[in-house]
Every structure is written in C-alpha cells, then in structure tokens.
C-alpha cells in the first residue's frame, strides 16, 4: 500500500515541561520528550500485551525509504481506562500517529505513558488522547 506522507517533523518543544520522570515499568531516558513527530503509514502489528502495548508501523521517511517503526504505549490496563481496546487497530490499518522519537535516531517512539496519549488516528477515526 502506498503511503504518501511520511515522517513529518512537527511540534517541537511543547512537551518539555515534565516535572519529573514518568512512572511506569521504566523511565523515558531513551526518548527525546521535547520532540514530537507525526508518522503516516500502515499498522503491521498491534501487540496488546504487558508490560506495554506496542504498535508496529511501516512509514516512509522524507527520502521515500520505508521505515519500520516500533511505538510504545502504556500498559493495556491503563489504555483500557483511557478508552482504548485490543480492537483499536489491526494489521493493515491506515494510521497517523504522533510520537516522541528515540534519542539515538532508531525508528522507535513513545506515544503514551499513564499520563499522556498523543494523537493517534486509525482509518480516519481519532482514538482517545490524554494531555499531560
């Protein structure tokens, strides 16, 4: 499936107000929480399990090269309490998703902890978000 838009560097700096480390199974040291990017691609796998929900997204970068992104969310229990479910998406779905990317440049990001959920749109339908 051909995807048009790719990795768009979007809002930067708006998430830099974290007053402390985010509690969960682990901290967020591997991610650049001051940077938010938007990916547009296809869900290749939706892994609804502990310790954290993970969605795998195939999206092209600005050079047209396909990248395989791994995007972390909060634990399933916390996602349920925010209005998500195991059926929120499935492989093959179109997805537009914001994420805080890894610091080292790997195609890995974090889109939700217990305190926030960034914008995620699946097949044109927005899933529940949570602001910090």
């Amino acid at each position: 499936m051909k995807r048009k838009l790719l990795v768009v560097l979007a809002a930067v700096g708006s998430m830099a107000m974290f007053s402390g480390p985010l509690p969960a199974h682990h901290g967020v040291a591997g991610y650049d929480m001051t940077k938010t990017i938007t990916l547009h691609g296809t869900v290749s796998k939706f892994d609804w399990s502990n310790p954290h929900v993970v969605v795998y997204v195939d999206a092209k970068n600005e050079g047209g090269e396909m990248q395989h992104w791994t995007i972390e969310f909060a634990a399933p229990v916390h996602m349920v309490r925010a209005g998500w479910s195991k059926n929120s998406m499935k492989a093959g779905d179109d997805i537009v998703i914001e994420t805080h990317p890894s610091r080292n440049g790997a195609p890995v990001g974090i889109t939700s902890t217990i305190t926030f959920i960034l914008k995620t749109v699946v097949n044109g339908q927005a899933l529940p978000v949570r602001s910090e």
């Binding site: 402390g20 682990h26 591997g30 310790p51």
Partner: protein, 272 residues
C-alpha cells in the same frame, strides 16, 4: 503449594464473608460529587473498602519517586542520608527513573528480573489497590503483579522473623488511621524507583487515612539504621475508582521481549 492455597482460600473466604457487611464504596458518577467526611465502620474503625487508584495528577501523585519528602521527585537521589554501606551500594544502581535514570543496561531488579517490588516500593507503581477488612486481619490486594498482603491485627511480630520480600506486617487502627508496622525484610528490593537500597533491618510504617470520601493518603516512614542516618517519610494520595482491577503480572518472557524489541533499540546507535 497446598498450604499456601489453603491459606489464601481461607483468607479470601473470610474476607468475602466479612465484606458483605460493608457499605458499598464506589467512586462518584460525576465530578460534581461533594467530598464527605471519611467513613467509619461499625466499631469506629476507618472504612477503607473500595478500590483505590494512584493519583495521576498533582505533585503528591504518581510522580513521587522517593520516600524522602525533602526530595520527592528524586532530583538529588545521591543526597539521601545514606550510611557508607548504603552509599556504596547506591553507586552500583542503574535506575530507570529519577535524575540518574538510564535506559542503558538498567539493573532495576523489577524491570530486569521481574523481582517482586516489595514494600514500600509497590506503592510507587501507578496501579490500584484494594483493602479487605476483617476482624482479625486486613488484606491488601495490589493490582501490580497481583500480590496480596495479610496485616494481622491480633498479634505482635515474631521475635526473629524470617526475611521476606513483603516482610512481616501487623496493624492497628489509630482513630481515623490504619497503621501498618512491617519488619522482616530481605535486602533485595529497592525502596523506591531511583534505587535507594535498604538492609534487612528495614522497619516500615504505613499510615492510611481518608482525606475525604474520594481520597486516601498513605504516609510511609522509613527507619533503617544500617542504611540511613535519619528516619524519613513521604506521602502519596490514592483516589477511589470504579475501574475494575486488571492483569498486570510481571511475566519475565514479556519483559524480556519488550526489552529486546523496544528498549534495547533506543540504547545503541543504529548500525552499531
């Protein structure tokens, strides 16, 4: 293990039998619900029934990362009043939280090995807890890792308790407060999310008090003369919730897979 199963069965049977007499505690349906005075059960003891969730908002909530109120967010975890023994141990920790947080090869025993978080670290995780009050014991059920504790109301500590992950707990009601006194720990757990160690001399006092109908305050006091030169304490707040407890077991296979598929990828520059 038949003995453990028998004990658990008896405990739950007692708990269920007793809890049927309790008034139902549920979270308000709307944000407009007015706070009420903390409820008391017959006998004048505080009513802790219901399910309590970590407070996601505010400085007293889930961002609290230490039990030292002078550094609640772990901005200076190295400045805790540690003895030389504890300070040396602390040098070796690689915590995933706090000012010293790292993703690179953390040695957090919970994240690395799915060790039980133990008491009091279990309260640092953002999951629910539920109290079951019976005449002779109070049971606390923790959503995170699905562990439970029995706090006996009718006995003293053993003179020489075994060392354990959760310790030996006895409790009493003190006015509007439920006080838990725990000793008999092993020294394998961290006190908090930032890796502060403790010894087997750890003595923890938990005080639960309802601030109002919807909020439950926990005050934790740490007394460990082998590890700390001072006694210190901090508080956290929980909120009454209607959300049913879910499954948050720490399965080593899942943790390992997550480590490899997500965390490890953020540690090494791509291509190396």
């Amino acid at each position: 293990m038949p003995i453990r199963v028998a004990i658990l069965t008896a405990a739950l049977a007692a708990a269920l039998g007793f809890s049927s007499n309790l008034p139902a505690q549920t979270a308000p349906d709307s944000a407009e619900a007015k706070p009420r005075q903390p409820g008391l059960m017959s006998g004048g003891i505080p009513d802790l029934s219901g399910t309590w969730d970590a407070d996601f908002k505010g400085p007293e909530g889930t961002r609290v990362n230490t039990w030292d109120s002078s550094d609640p967010f772990a901005k200076h975890p190295e400045q805790a009043p540690m003895t030389p023994w504890a300070a040396e141990k602390f040098k070796g920790v690689r915590p995933p939280f706090g000012a010293l947080q790292t993703f690179d090869n953390t040695n957090d025993p919970v994240q690395r090995y799915c060790d039980p978080p133990g008491v009091p670290r279990i309260y640092m995780y953002p999951w629910e807890l539920k109290f079951i009050q019976t005449p002779k014991a109070v049971y606390i059920l923790y959503e995170y890792t699905k562990v439970w504790r029995e706090i006996d109301l009718d006995r003293e500590h053993p003179k020489d308790p075994d060392n354990s992950w959760m310790g030996d707990s006895i409790g009493k009601y003190d006015g509007d407060t439920f006080v838990i006194d725990t000793i008999g720990f092993n020294d394998k757990t961290w006190l908090d999310q930032t890796g502060h160690p403790h010894s087997d001399a750890l003595h923890v006092i938990e005080r639960f008090r309802r601030l109002d109908h919807d909020r439950l305050e926990l005050s934790v006091t740490i007394d460990d003369p082998k590890a700390y030169t001072k006694i210190f304490s901090n508080t956290k707040v929980f909120r009454l919730t209607n959300a049913p407890m879910g499954e948050t077991l720490c399965a080593y296979s899942e943790m390992k897979e997550f480590q490899e598929k997500v965390v490890d990828k953020t540690q090494t520059p791509p291509g190396k």
